[in-house]
Symmetry: C2
Subunit: 233 residues, 2 copies
DNA sequence: TTGACATATGCGCATAACGGATATAAGTAA
DNA sequence: TTACTTATATCCGTTATGCGCATATGTCAA
């Protein structure tokens, strides 16, 4: 690189710069289905469409810190599983200006989902299909803003890809859970039914589940044993 | 409010904006090892250190387009496997200014590696360790600039994670290759030796390799059959 | 108290995947 | 021809997996 090119790169005002945002894909189980938490846009552009919670990255704020801040502000929590998902930078993805967004995937437990919904800032939308589309609990289809269907699809696919070999499913469950609940999570994420004995054995043989000795309450049938994740190793 | 009216009132300069770059992790096989193509910095900061090829994202250029442009400009090719890797946005990762980089992973065949090295713009550096460190062909350790060791580590890990269930290994090989060469790639990427009969059977049973009937030339022993990837389905 | 019912839990078997050793085939080089 | 190197094929024991079925354990109603 020549000195001129170097100096041109060095001057922070020499290039027009895109805006940078972080968008959050908040996923969790809701009514037995995989669901995302979305916000309804009431301002143009795309008023009436549903969008991921997001915001600008501060000039003195790392990407991870921006994602954590948004998790607190938009969903009111700070202990969810959070991982960077993918960056989206199509030139025309936002009609207002050039904006590049770094999408983060956050996984919420059912109680966190419920608390966020109660706060009124977000609404749960069940995800299905390929690419995913969003549906409200009463069955109505929710139109998605910008390229957010694409982002949601990638989030769902990330979850699908990792659920078999990582502990990611447990981020969607309370600390103590039944094997049936764990299987429900796997089936909702993968979108296919799994056979029960095989699933049960696979999970137990992995050696990361610890039987608590206690059983679920308020079941109208034989109560299942509660397990917890061995996160010690 | 209409979209047009909103756009008219929108002030895009309300926030200080970080610079956005794309960095390229160019990986390939070199001397039987997994190697990356790096550029030596001859200007401060970190003059003398080795860095990934990279550049600013144009205001009217998508992230993928910027990565493709850099692939042409820095490595002189346009048909390599290219996928987005991860975005790095620590506040102090570049001492000159706030810069967020979207790293892309490019996989090169041996002939593409050789051509890029001959062009003189880049140098091959063998990768090993965790986190990865870079070594020149003569064994000298190459210091890495900025957070590029972290980026290279993530690239190597992505390759490791995908090599078992995707066609990613074939992007590092010529169109026709022996099973031995394919195993060499797997071993270099994973960093462990693999047993030959098992590897052979796994690859053939997958049903994606097509025997060409021809055999490798210039071998000082029994020549192995050449296979090609069935990319039809 | 008893029996119907739903779900959890455990068992067995056939099949496929896999690691690993060994035998055989097919080239080169003396 | 013979030694040597590597490719290719076969075999075996272990382990993971799909799947059906038997049994256990709770609720609930008669």
């Amino acid at each position: 690189m020549t000195d001129e090119a170097f100096l041109r790169d060095y001057d922070p005002s020499a290039f027009a710069r895109p805006s940078v945002t972080v968008d959050l894909v908040l996923l969790g189980m809701h009514d037995g289905q995989l669901a995302a938490l979305l916000m309804r846009r009431d301002q143009p552009p795309q008023a009436g469409c549903w969008a991921l919670p997001g915001g600008f990255v501060g000039i003195d704020e790392s990407l991870d810190a921006a994602a954590l801040r948004l998790l607190r502000d938009k969903a009111g929590m700070d202990d969810a599983h959070l991982e960077q998902l993918y960056s989206f930078g199509a030139v025309d993805r936002d009609p207002r200006m050039r904006v590049i967004t770094i999408a983060y995937l956050a996984l919420l437990r059912a109680d966190q989902m419920a608390a966020a919904i109660r706060s009124g800032r977000v609404t749960a939308a069940a995800l299905a299909g390929d690419p995913v589309s969003a549906r409200s609990p009463d069955g109505a289809s929710l139109p998605l803003a910008f390229d957010h269907a694409q982002i949601l699809t990638r989030a769902r696919d990330r979850l699908r890809g990792k659920i078999d070999y990582s502990d990611i499913a447990f981020a969607l469950l309370p600390a103590r859970f039944t094997l049936r609940a764990l299987q429900d999570v796997h089936e909702a994420v993968l979108g296919v039914p799994l056979n029960k004995p095989g699933f049960r054995r696979r999970m137990l043989d992995r050696g990361r589940l610890i039987a608590t000795g206690t059983r679920e309450a308020d079941a109208s049938h034989r109560p299942a044993e509660l397990f917890r994740l061995n996160d010690g190793d």
